[in-house]
């Protein structure tokens, strides 16, 4: 409530305020009408003065509105009318004739024991438009999110069905394959010793073995991308390899402290395959080391060993599925697992000096949980 003891209400200053301001007496006759109101309504202060506010704006006479305003003249607190419920209680327009959206406050004002109401009309048109635009954008985003969720659910369901179909088919093929291999073995044990027939049987057995390997491969491959990618601490992931793989005395140095990368949950399989390849093909190796550096491509994880290395002619082929006869499907799988989150891998070691793999993690797909400096860990 505003109280003043001045002889005259100091109303002239209110002309400077960029909001509509009207002062009314207890009988709702207008005592003061500021220049902003003149600008918004075209009604001059002289025209307004002495006339009744509620007669001029009949919406103020509606019972639900009038009952609240009248409380103010009975000693009650200020009365607020929000733009959501009363956007044009005292219609004020723009020069083009469109109506302003308003928020109106009736504030009690006491002067020489007489009660008045100071009516403050705020133009909230811009705010309203902004809020409505924001709500519109929010709705679009929510709808898109819904569509995305539905698509995700559909993909998940389709993937689940495909995996189930894969599992059943694989299981059936493996059963038949076992039967086939059994019959071939039995055929080889018969007394018929025809060298040509034996050669055919060896060929059949080899082909059956290859089919078996390929079928086994599908079991690993179907899991890639099934679960959402997550942030994983790389050294922690590599450390787990030791629990499943015999390093045969080879030292494993991990200089990747606190490095986390955003990758498929099968990331561990990538490092497992690299270490297993080193142990299987490295011949005389006794050291494996992991480190990293950053450049314009992002962060590069270096995996290197001191084995025989990879010959130049197969450096690219080792990541192809067709190369499985030599390396198994490990490196192909590794490259596919990494590709889920746009991480790539290549081999660029010097043959004879050891293998050297570069895992290129793009910006935004790596982070550090603690400061980069860290003591290398040696297993």
């Amino acid at each position: 409530m505003v109280e003043t003891n001045d002889q005259n209400l100091p109303l002239g200053l209110l002309d400077l305020i960029p909001n509509g301001i009207v002062v009314v007496r207890g009988d709702y006759s207008i005592l003061y009408w500021n220049s902003c109101m003149f600008e918004w309504t075209g009604i001059t202060p002289e025209e307004a003065r002495g006339t009744s506010l509620i007669e001029r704006y009949p919406a103020l006479k509606e019972q639900s509105v009038f009952a609240r305003i009248s409380q103010l003249f009975e000693g009650g607190p200020a009365v607020l009318f929000s733009s959501s419920f009363h956007p044009h209680l005292v219609p004020c327009s723009f020069p083009d004739g469109s109506l302003r959206v308003e928020k109106i406050s009736f504030i009690p004002l006491v002067h020489t024991r007489e009660r008045y109401a100071l009516v403050l009309i705020e133009d909230v048109t811009d705010l309203t438009n902004q809020v409505k635009a924001y709500r519109g954008m929010k709705k679009i985003a929510e709808d898109q999110l819904d569509d995305l969720k539905k698509a995700q659910d559909a993909i998940y369901l389709a993937n689940k069905k495909l995996n189930l179909l894969n599992s059943i088919t694989r299981h059936d093929i493996m059963n038949k394959l076992t039967v086939l291999i059994g019959f071939i073995e039995l055929s080889r044990e018969t007394e018929i010793k025809d060298p040509i027939l034996e050669k055919y049987l060896d060929g059949e057995l080899e082909a059956a073995g290859a089919i078996s390997t390929q079928i086994q491969f599908t079991r690993f491959y179907q899991d890639i991308g099934v679960k959402a990618a997550v942030w994983q601490e790389v050294s922690e992931t590599i450390r787990l390899i030791e629990t499943t793989l015999d390093l045969r005395g080879v030292s494993l140095t991990i200089d990747l402290s606190y490095l986390e990368i955003f990758a498929d949950p099968l990331l561990q399989r990538v490092f497992y395959n690299l270490v297993e390849n080193s142990l299987r093909h490295g011949e005389h190796l006794d050291k494996i080391r992991l480190s990293f550096y950053e450049d314009e491509r992002g962060l590069i994880i270096i995996y290197e060993d001191n084995g025989v290395g990879v010959p130049y002619e197969v450096k690219e082929k080792i990541f192809k599925r067709e190369f499985f006869k030599n390396t198994g499907f490990g490196l192909f799988l590794s490259s596919e697992i990494l590709a889920i989150t746009n991480i790539s891998i290549r081999e660029n070691g010097v043959p004879g000096e050891g293998a050297r793999f570069e895992i290129i993690v793009p910006q935004g797909k790596y982070r550090f949980s603690e400061p980069k400096a860290g003591k290398p860990e040696v297993i």
Binding site: G75, P77, A78, V79, L80, S84, F85, V131, R135, E142
Partner: protein, 203 residues
């Protein structure tokens, strides 16, 4: 801490009940739903107990409140407090909007302020009328946050160590929207309030 006898507490409860009853009537008119009111609880509590973080006065991390300070022969704060979800649901109901995840944006806060203004004015108007007291009021303010912070912000208004806290919980049935009407009276004002109540009762 000041001791107030049970009879006085009952008298205060009755006065508060009249105000809250009228506020419930206004809420009923706005929502068209039955409003279930609990009997007001009246307690004298140290103000610090209300401002304590995590106090159990009203649970919920985020509350939406409309407050009004009043001064006169008795002084204090009147507030209507909603859990944020209830506040958003109430505004959505009254504006007729539909949204999957309603949030209290600037426009809805203004709408809620108007709803709070109607409720608080009904409470204070009736109390002042019944007691024939002239009070002066601040402009209503909106606040969002835990109850402890809310009360803490009004520390300059409440100058006594203890306050009389009248709390009435209400539920807008069928819509499951709940809220509280709070009245915090400076303990120094209690004597004036009691005098007013006694005077009115004697008529």
């Amino acid at each position: 801490m000041k001791n107030i006898d049970e009879q006085t507490i009952d008298a205060i409860r009755e006065i508060v009940n009249i105000g809250v009853g009228r506020a419930a009537g206004q809420l009923h008119e706005m929502t068209g739903s039955h409003i279930r009111l609990r009997i007001p609880s009246i307690n004298i509590v140290p103000f610090t107990e209300i401002t304590e973080p995590g106090n159990s006065l009203i649970s919920g991390d985020v509350l939406s409140a409309v407050l009004l300070d009043f001064r006169g022969s008795f002084s204090g704060i009147s507030a209507v407090v909603f859990p944020s979800e209830s506040a958003a649901a109430l505004v959505m109901l009254l504006t007729g909007e539909k949204e999957k995840t309603p949030e209290l944006d600037a426009m809805r806060i203004e709408a809620l302020k108007e709803v709070g203004n109607i409720i608080i004015n009904a409470v204070m108007g009736s109390i002042a009328n019944v007691l024939s007291e002239n009070l002066t009021y601040s402009l209503p303010v909106y606040y969002e946050g835990p109850i402890g912070n809310l009360a803490g912000l009004r520390r300059r208004v409440i100058q006594d160590d203890s306050v009389l806290l009248a709390r009435t919980n209400f539920l807008i049935e069928t819509l499951n929207i709940e809220g509280d009407i709070l009245l915090l009276l400076e303990i120094g004002s209690i004597d004036h309030l009691i005098e007013s109540i006694t005077r009115v009762s004697a008529r």
